[in-house]
Amino acid sequence: NAGVTQTPKFRILKIGQSMTLQCTQDMNHNYMYWYRQDPGMGLKLIYYSVGAGITDKGEVPNGYNVSRSTTEDFPLRLELAAPSQTSVYFCASRGAGGNTGELFFGEGSRLTVL
């Protein structure tokens, strides 16, 4: 049982490049989330999904896109990378029942845009 798996763990991008951060979970969770954590700051919600085919914007969606074609996968796409997107990105998931709001997080993907 791997939980939430994020790839890559580290990536350096040049300004204007695009990339996709991958996130997959094997817990059959309906809800999935993408957060970013800037140095010394809290977690900001980028996008979230309540099930396959459904996505919604969070607090800081600009410059990002997501899709949810399957229950397991929730990739985050960065278009035209900018230095302001340098951050650590966390993917998380949770089931529909149980402790509402109990998220299971991946280990994070550290992205640097130069």
Binding site: L43, F90, A92, T100, G101, F105, E107
Partner: protein, 111 residues
Amino acid sequence: DQQVKQNSPSLSVQEGRISILNCDYTNSMFDYFLWYKKYPAEGPTFLISISSIKDKNEDGRFTVFLNKSAKHLSLHIVPSQPGDSAVYFCAASVSASKIIFGSGTRLSIRP
């Protein structure tokens, strides 16, 4: 517009004493409140939660108190242990789906 606020960036507590971490919120529609713990280079891990219809929830050394009239919640850790040194995040959920985090409080437990 920060809906979940943790006004203390850091806190230092002696081992064995009580640690109290505070959190304020502005949105009356939050239905669940949660605390997460984070070590460096790891994802956050869930600690404890409380429904908006309750005022207290306990789990071992951890107790969360909710004061809805003041829009304030707190996490009490008793007794504090060295392994409790970490960053603690307060979070709140809206309609059991959207989950917003505060900026975190770094807790240091000194010997």
